[in-house]
Amino acid sequence: MTAIPVQTDATALTGTNPAPTAAGPRRKPRGTAQQRFPFLRNKKAVTGLVILGFFTLLALIGPWIAPFDPNAISKDILQGPSATHWFGTSHLGQDVLSQIIVGTRSVMLVGLVTGVIATVLSVIVGVSAGFLGGVSDEILSALSNIFLVIPALPLIIIIAGQLPDAGGMTIALILAATGWAWGARVLRAQTLSLRRRDFVEAARANGESTWRIVWFETLPNLTAIIASSFIGTVTFAILSQTTLAFIGVTSIKSWSWGTVLYWAQSGQALHRGAWWWFVPAGLCIALVGMALTFINFGIDEFVNPRLRSAGTSAKDMRRRGIRPRIGFTAIDRSAMATSRRRAVAPPAHPDAWAPETTPSPKSPPTKEPKR
């Protein structure tokens, strides 16, 4: 339609004068990983991923790097942190650090298995409820509501308590059976809103099978929500597993952070002032929990741009007196001088320009306007 080249580059237009003053500094290219995964641009999400990566590594290689056998009894009874025992020792002289390192695996494994099973359940229930509608939706929603309202912990206690020996996988299964409802609820709501969107309607009108629409049109759009519900479930599982181990419902034969706390409690760590016995395990749980929450924040901000904070740093905005508020638009009269040099091409016919939009090629480019 048009043969006119669209030129935005100032230097190309003027030809004779390269005018570095008008071009302004170019943005440095970002890292390729960040370009490919915009999610990684989120500082919180990256922090979360790094912490989680650390504990995953610990879960994998824990038994090989633990300095002591976590069960080995020694003469160093109830010793505080030292060079040999970083996290001190228990009432039997066991090394607390080793117990925590070795116990990482069971914590992460229960979290992962519960997360996977519960997420699959919630996707099946949530997406079917949202997609099928009608009576099926009513039944499935009622089912998720029941599981949401029934307090999970007492339920798990009466199940696990009556099992002769509830090990890690049993606990994971019970946790998955009780922890899927929240995800199902969120997914149902999202599926419902997706179902009304144009592209799904179009697929239906084209006579595509329900199964195909769910698999190819709906699920890809639910990825972020599924991921966020998976992470939520893992957090729930890790907290619950630790709690169950702490109150002695589950098997105390294998090490986990919860069993460390169980022994600390039954070994009177509190009254003996042995803070090193229970503080590290709790901090580890908090760290993993925080990491997961941070990742979820990242996903939330990815899905809901309203939660994202503005592109520039808070410090820079404060300096310029900008406060993002509803109802009182920020005013920064210095912003124009900066951006004008960048955005506007220099004039070929200076007389055709309104004086206030003329950039001054003589002004030095580096000077920021002072406020």
């Binding site: 339609m1 048009t2 006119i4 080249p5 669209v6 030129q7 935005t8 237009l13 503005a310 592109g311 520039t312 820079d316 905005m317 310029r320 900008i322 993002p324 508020r325 509803i326 109802g327 009182f328 638009t329 920020a330 005013i331 920064d332 009269r333 912003a335 124009m336 900066t338 951006s339 960048r342 955005a343 091409a345 004039p347 070929a348 016919h349 055709a352 320009w353 309104a354 206030e356 939009t357």
Partner: protein, 358 residues
């Protein structure tokens, strides 16, 4: 309202006293190094008693203009320069005040009292958990501190009946009203303090044609009675021609043509205005062939050099890519109208195309 205003209203040529003056307004989106330039030096004057129409495709900056001028633009909107002068009480001799320089407190006091707005999409403009009456009354309470509750309640009922809603609906919740009724409630709310300026942002877009007409007629009738000035924003130019005294047409964050409504309708001077007029069927008068404007609104982040419209323009010249046109007199030097197009520069264009010189 005083007699004089009533007398002046509806006679745009007589009322040349400014009430709201927007001067060189620059607005961007984003707080970073290079915000997207949504408004680039907009100048616009609203005169007492007149209905000024603001038209353009979506994304041209017409709503941005209304919200920035009232400092209601949400983050990451940023006012980068300019003034919005409000000329206070008529004949009082008071100097005009710049809305953009007010403190928060001054701004709160001025809002709704001087300039009120009817927002786009009345569906979400009402607080869903409060009754209509309460929402009408809280604005009055905020500005008329010495009014009694009974007075405010009476005023709320009066306002509702003014826009043709039964006064007993003050106790209704927003979800109990139809879309058209909600829009009327918003208009009643905007008039609660008898503001001098009423800004209406696409007030009827979501409504059916019959409802559109009713509401428009009501607004014009109220304007005649109360004598406020209106800035009426819509993408539907044919609607503006019916209600507006003067029309300003925006493109890519700038005003590209400004003239009386009948002039814009019969004798557009900018190729974009011409195209815009031919993309809507006229409500009255002879039918004419409909033709859209090729291409799509420009990306404000990457505007072409020179005239932003040139890539879609039928009459593009070499100069268009190099010179950015500014608002100025037309080639025919018609009084009271301005256009931003190089075709009106005799030094650059040999002739004005026939379609733009009728």
């Amino acid at each position: 309202m005083t007699e004089t205003i009533t007398a002046l209203s509806g006679t745009p040529t007589a009322a040349r006293e400014p009430i709201l003056e927007i001067r060189d307004l620059h607005v961007g989106y984003g707080y970073g190094e290079s915000p997207v330039r949504a408004l680039r030096g907009v100048n616009l004057t609203l005169h007492r008693g007149e209905v000024l129409g603001l038209a353009g495709e979506s994304g041209c900056g017409k709503s941005t203009l209304a919200y920035a001028a009232t400092r209601l633009l949400p983050p990451p909107g940023l006012i980068m320069g300019g003034e919005v002068l409000y000329h206070g009480a008529q004949g009082s001799g008071e100097p005009p005040v710049d809305i953009l320089s007010m403190t928060d407190k001054e701004l709160r006091a001025s809002r709704w009292e001087d300039v009120a707005i009817v927002f786009q999409g009345a569906m979400n403009s009402l607080n869903p958990v409060y009754r209509i009456g309460r929402q009408l009354m809280d604005a009055i309470a905020a500005h008329r501190k010495d009014s009694t509750k009974a007075e405010r309640a009476e005023r709320a009922r009066e306002l509702l009946s003014m826009v043709g809603i039964a006064p007993d609906r003050v106790s209704a919740f927003p979800h109990e009203l139809s879309g058209g009724m909600r829009q009327r409630v918003m208009i009643a709310m905007a008039l609660a303090l008898e503001p001098k300026v009423l800004i209406m942002d696409e007030p009827t877009t979501a409504l059916d044609v019959v409802m559109q007409r009713q509401i428009l007629e009501q607004v014009i009738d109220l304007r005649d009675r109360l004598g406020f000035s209106v800035i009426f924003i819509t993408h539907d130019v044919s609607l503006l021609i019916e209600v507006a005294d003067r029309i300003a047409i925006m493109y890519a964050g700038e005003i590209i043509e400004e003239a009386s409504a009948s002039d814009v309708y019969r004798r557009p001077r900018h190729p974009y205005a011409h195209g815009l007029l031919h993309s809507f069927p006229p409500l009255h008068g002879p039918k004419r062939p409909l033709a859209g404007i090729p291409g799509s609104p420009p990306d404000l982040q990457a505007l072409p050099s020179g005239c932003p419209f040139r890539v879609r323009c039928d009459h593009v010249m070499d100069a268009c890519s190099q010179i950015q046109p500014v608002l100025g007199p037309t080639r025919l030097n018609e009084p009271g109208r301005q256009v931003a197009c190089l075709l009106h520069d005799a030094a650059l264009a040999p002739t004005l195309p026939e379609s733009l010189s009728r």
